[in-house]
Amino acid sequence: MVSPAFRTESLTKRYGRVLALDGLDLSVPAGEVFGFLGPNGAGKSTTIRLLLGLARPTAGRASIFGTDAADVAVTHRRLAYVPADVALWPQLTGAEILELLARTGPGTDRSYRDDLVERFDLDLSKPGRTYSTGNRQKVALVAAFATRAPLLVLDEPTSGLDPLMELEFRRAVREARDNGQSVFLSSHQLAEVEAVCDKVAILRAGRLVDVAAVTDLRRLHRTEVTVCFTGTPPDLAHVPGVQAVEMTGATSLRFTLTGPPGPALQELAAADVVSLAVRESSLEEIFLGYYGGTQR
């Protein structure tokens, strides 16, 4: 078995009376693109700060490729980071910032960097203070991808990017995966997570709620079924796995299906079905299912 890109064991962080992270056990396999989801304040950025050694855990430990996260001189040789809120040195130009990061970093593929600058349409002659939010993110993204580090830790890296740049970002993530790199992507852009991630971990109120492959997540979760009948629809409320049955007309109804569809299909087979539409939930619906109606 390959060693994980990083692993946390009972990782806990307390800020005064606030428990920001509560015993997180998470292992991210090398070579995967791993999504990290959760509402604001769930503890995603805290987890990332602990992984990077920017903050110290109250309890538990985090290790990156087997090395304790506190040993940054070693662990940071194998990772690159894009913070959620990129602040650049106001007087340095984009080119100077990239040079500083390349020369103090874990090593940079300069030709790939030039290629990324081109693709992200980044003007490197401007001083840091004149860059917009999106352009600051682009500078950090170019610097991170250009390291070709084995682990990329990206904290909401595309919140300021336009759709065209978002596509470039997804392309760069796929290139990293094809290259054997691991990507840990914290994001609110569920379409993006769905498009690029192999697996996701879902965090709520400092605790891990679920870890699953994106495809499994969708399969395991609610499927929406709309059925039209010639006559009166059968009563499905008692069928296992069927929920939220809703009459949408005199002869049609809609319900959600969780788990194996067998019992529901047997029930439907007995009725006179005119049409049947099955739609898998989007990640967004799954996500809202986790948090809908509850705080955090």
Partner: protein
């Protein structure tokens, strides 16, 4: 749905918004406001009390009066007027220093709460509300003006409480307050011209430096006395508190202050938010020097501020050197006054070496402030997120911090060296007897105090990062004030001994106090080591 609010209520809301802006401005400067007010009141009262212990009989007063004729003393300490009066003496001893302290505070506060807030983007959301930018700037100026007036009132209260007469105290305090108002308005104006806080502060400090120079030259050279009419410090001196109490210069200063304040507020309305009148080029070619390591990058960030500090310190010590002969000759001819000067805290002014040693001791204050400001900048870069990308690089925090400490240390050695060289150059120009090694050793003699500031600043960075400026400048600025106050107010001896200045030998007049220098360096090293430990352990503020 709710109905729209009646017009009257909305007007009230606009007033509420303006009050909220005023409250915001006040909140950002309240601590500094209390400190400058307390310093103005305390120093004024202490100086009045010192007059009683220094000037014991009319003959002493006459000796002090002889000062008025000496250009060197006039240049350095201002034109002495009415020294026979306790109030007049206090004004001469503290007036210029207080005006500079209040002026520097006012201009830095002005650029911080106007341009600094705007540049950080915090004004965007405020200016999207009901308050237009001209009102925003005007309200901030009004708050700064109020604080300046409060500091003036503090000085008045201090003088009168200690027994000085009220008339002169009123004129002096008004002049002092107006100096604060002038530099608050000047800071608000440069904040409109420049788009970054550092440029705006730098320009306003330059205005203050030129104002001070105009006053010093006007005081020292009779033929150029009119230059004082061009400087707020000069106008304040021309009001001659306790010696005629002339109001005309103050009226002129009021008019200038009003014009400058109104101009700054009006100027705010004619520019882009986050922009200034001076535009920066939107792009330039890369300059890749000093980007190869964090240590080199620390040097790169140091170069510009170091040049500015060196220029300021160098100019002052060049003047000190040029004045050496005139000053020492005067004191050699007036031994009685040399005694008085010694009692007033300026001992050994009778020889060039003693004179240089006394003035080199002052160098510890800017040298200590320099290292405190460097560490405060590092703390601000951390909380501003600018260091985050560097913290994600494969290097330890200790390495980053030690690079920064080394740069600050190199910088302060350079500043003291510049001061020594400038003094030596000045003395050579007038043929005074000061060797280069003497000048350099006198300047370098303050390095242990600067090291204490460095140690205290690193300690604060490791354990209390919000207090870096305060703790970092404490050994130099706090120690200096403590020594002066303890010397003149008759506090127990051990209180004065707490100040590192009490253990600073008068180099080059006497040899270096090596045990004290060694002890200070040791304390500084231990404090810095404890600070590095804290910095490695704590959570970063990103």
């Amino acid at each position: 749905m709710r109905a729209p609010k009646p017009a009257a209520e909305r007007t009230d809301f606009g007033r509420g918004a303006r009050l909220a802006v005023t409250a915001l401005a006040l909140r950002q400067i309240r601590r500094g406001a209390l400190i400058v007010t307390a310093v103005a009141a305390g120093m004024s009262a202490v100086a009045v009390a010192a007059h009683r212990s220094t000037v014991k009989d009319p003959a002493d007063a006459a000796a002090l009066e002889a000062l008025a004729g000496n250009p060197a003393i006039r240049t350095l300490f201002g034109e002495p007027v009415a020294l026979d009066d306790a109030g007049g003496f206090a004004v001469w001893r503290t007036g210029t220093a207080l005006a500079v302290v209040l002026g520097v505070w006012a201009l830095l506060a002005a650029t911080r709460i106007t341009r600094g807030e705007e540049d950080a983007g915090r004004w965007d959301v405020l200016l999207a509300g009901r308050v237009p930018v001209t009102t925003m700037v005007a309200r901030h100026i009004v708050v700064l003006v109020s604080v300046s007036l409060l500091a003036g009132a503090g000085a008045f209260a201090g003088l009168v409480a200690a027994g000085a007469t009220a008339g002169g105290a009123a004129v002096h305090s008004a002049g002092l307050a107006l100096c604060g108002v002038f530099f608050a308005a000047a800071g608000a104006m440069t904040a409109q011209v420049f788009a970054t806080r550092s440029s705006a502060s730098g320009a306003a400090v330059a205005v203050l430096g030129v104002s001070m120079l105009l006053k010093m030259v006007g005081d020292g050279v009779a033929a150029l006395g009119w230059l004082r009419w061009l400087s707020p410090f000069g106008l304040t001196a021309l009001a001659r508190p306790y010696d005629g109490n002339r109001l005309w210069p103050l009226v002129i200063l009021v008019v200038v202050c009003l014009a400058l304040s109104a101009g700054a507020a009006a100027a705010a309305g004619r520019r882009d938010i986050r922009g200034g009148y001076l535009r920066y080029p939107s792009g330039r070619g890369p300059r890749m020097r000093l980007l190869g390591s964090v240590q080199a990058f620390a040097v790169r960030r140091l170069v510009r501020p170091l040049a500015a500090w060196s220029a300021g310190v160098g100019a002052y010590y060049l003047l000190i050197g040029v004045l050496a002969v005139s000053m020492t000759d005067f004191l050699a001819d007036n031994p009685r006054f040399a005694d008085l000067a010694a009692q007033a805290g300026f001992a050994g002014l009778g020889t060039v070496q003693g004179y240089a040693a006394t003035l080199f001791a002052l160098l510890a204050v800017p040298a200590g402030a320099f290292v405190a400001v460097r560490l405060a900048t590092l703390a601000a870069d951390e909380s501003g997120g600018r260091l985050t990308l560097l913290f994600a690089q494969p290097l330890t925090r200790a390495r980053l911090l030690i690079g920064e400490i080394a740069a600050a240390l190199g910088g302060v050695i350079l500043i003291t060296t510049v001061a020594g060289l400038a003094t030596w150059t000045g003395t050579k120009a007038v043929g005074a007897d000061l060797d280069l090694p003497d000048a350099l050793s006198g300047a370098w003699n303050v390095l242990p105090i600067a090291l204490l500031c460095l140690g205290a600043g690193v300690l604060a960075l490791g354990w209390a990062p919000r207090a870096v400026t305060t703790l970092g400048s404490l050994p130099a600025a706090g120690g200096f004030l403590l020594k002066v106050i303890a010397d003149t107010s008759g506090w127990p001896v051990w209180v004065g001994q707490l100040s590192p200045f009490a253990h600073l030998a008068a180099v080059p007049d006497v040899p270096v106090n090596w045990p004290a220098a060694f002890l200070m360096t040791l304390v500084a090293t231990l404090a810095a080591a404890a600070g590095v430990v804290g910095y490695r352990r704590r959570d970063l503020r990103t």
